[in-house]
Assembly symmetry: C2
Homo-oligomer: 219 residues x 2
C-alpha cells in the first residue's frame, strides 16, 4: 500500500532550515498515504522545478531568503493555478497572514504545530479545506464581521428597488437619457428618482451618491 500511487498525497517542501526541511520530509515520506516528491531550499529552485511536476500540496516557509514565501505563492499560482499551498511560519502576524492568503495560499500553520496535526492539515488541504490556526481564523472572521456591520447601518438609507437600479446605472456611467431608455421611463422620471436618492442619502451630486452607496454596500 505504501507505494500505491492512488493513495498518495504528493507533497513538496520549500524551507531553508535544513533540520526542519529534512524533518518534514522524513515525517511525510514515512507516513502511509503521503509522499514527499521534492524538497527545496529556495523558492527559485522550486519554481524552476514546478512546471509539469505532479504536486498536490506544497508546504512553504514564509520567511525565505531571496524570493519570499509570499512572492513564491504568487509565482507558483501563475505557473500552476490549481496548486494548493500551505504556509508555514514562525510569526502569527496580522499583515503577513493576509498577504499570504491574498497571494493565494490556502492555509496557514505555525511551525510549532505538532506533526500529527500537520499531516492532518495536509490532508485537509488535499481534500479542499483550509486549515489554519484558530487565532488566524479569528482575524479573518473579524474582518468579515466588520464588513457585515457596515451593511447593517443602512436601515435609514432605504432605497426602493427602482432607485437602486437608477443609482447602479449611474455608477456604470450612464447619463439620464441612457438610464431612461434602459428602464423604459422618461428622463424626468429618472430625474425624479435621483432627487429622491439624493434626499434619502443626504447628498447633492451623482459622485457623492454613488460613493456613499458603494461604500455602504447598497449597490
Amino acid at each position: 500500500m505504501k507505494n500505491d500511487k492512488n493513495y498518495m498525497i504528493k507533497v513538496a517542501i520549500v524551507e531553508d532550515n535544513n533540520t526542519i526541511r529534512e524533518g518534514l520530509a522524513a515525517l511525510i515520506s514515512g507516513t502511509n498515504g503521503y509522499d514527499c516528491v521534492g524538497t527545496y531550499i529556495k523558492c527559485e529552485t522550486f519554481l524552476e522545478d514546478l512546471p509539469g511536476k505532479d504536486i498536490d500540496v506544497v508546504l512553504m516557509d514564509i520567511g525565505l531568503p531571496g524570493i519570499s514565501g509570499i512572492e513564491g505563492v504568487k509565482k507558483a499560482k501563475e505557473i500552476e493555478p490549481g496548486i494548493d499551498i500551505l504556509m508555514l511560519t514562525v510569526y502569527e502576524d496580522n499583515s503577513v497572514v493576509f498577504e499570504a492568503l491574498c497571494a493565494g495560499a490556502c492555509g496557514y500553520l505555525v511551525k510549532k504545530t505538532p506533526p500529527l496535526r500537520l499531516l492532518e492539515a495536509i490532508k485537509e488541504v488535499y481534500e479542499g479545506g483550509s486549515p489554519m490556526s484558530s487565532n488566524i481564523a479569528r482575524q479573518v472572521i473579524t474582518l468579515f464581521q466588520q464588513n457585515a456591520a457596515i451593511e447593517q447601518e443602512n436601515e435609514e438609507y432605504k432605497l426602493t428597488n427602482r432607485e437602486k437600479e437608477v443609482l447602479f446605472k449611474l455608477s456604470e456611467g450612464n447619463n439620464y437619457q441612457e438610464i431612461a431608455d434602459a428602464l423604459f421611463i422618461s428622463v424626468d422620471t429618472v430625474r425624479h428618482h435621483i432627487r429622491n436618492i439624493y434626499s434619502k442619502l443626504h447628498v447633492h451630486s451623482q459622485s457623492e451618491a454613488v460613493a456613499k452607496a458603494i461604500r455602504r454596500g447598497i449597490i
Copy 2:
C-alpha cells in the same frame, strides 16, 4: 481543582435535541476545566436568562425552532456584546455559514465533530481563537482571495497622488470649484486632472470614475 472557578470555562448550550444537549452537558461538566452553566431548549429562554449571567462560551445549534440560531446570535450579541458563540450545525452550507459569521458567531463546527475536538474548540474560542472546520475556512478564504484578485488588476489604472486627491474630493460631493479651493489650484487644473482620470480609468463621467475607483480600492 474541579471546582476552582479560576480554571473553569463557563459554557452554555442551546440545542433542541435532548440527546445531543444532555450529551454535550455531560461531556462539558465531566471534563476538568469546563463547566456547563446552563442548557436551553430554545433561544427564547436562553435570551431571557442571559442578562447578568456569567457565561464564557455558548454552543448554539443553528437549526432551532422559534428564533433561529442566527437570530439568536444577533440578539445575544446585543445583550452581551462580549459573549463568544460557537455555532453547531448539521449542514455545512455556504450561505448559512456566512450569515452566522456575519451575525457575530466566532466559530462554526459540524455536529459530527468528535468530543475531544469540541472541547479543544471551546478552549480556543475562550482564548480568542475561531475554530472552524477547514471546509468552512476554505470558503471564507476563497472570498478573501476574490477580493484580493480585484485589487491586483489596478496596475494599469495608476493614478497620481494628485489625481487620487481630486477623485476623492469628488466622491465627497465637492464640485470643481470646491476642489480647486481645497487644493489651492485653479478650476481648470481640476478639470485637467479629471480629464486624465477619465482617460486612465476609461470612463466618461464622475459617477463611473468614482464607482470604479471605489470598487477597485483606489480610493
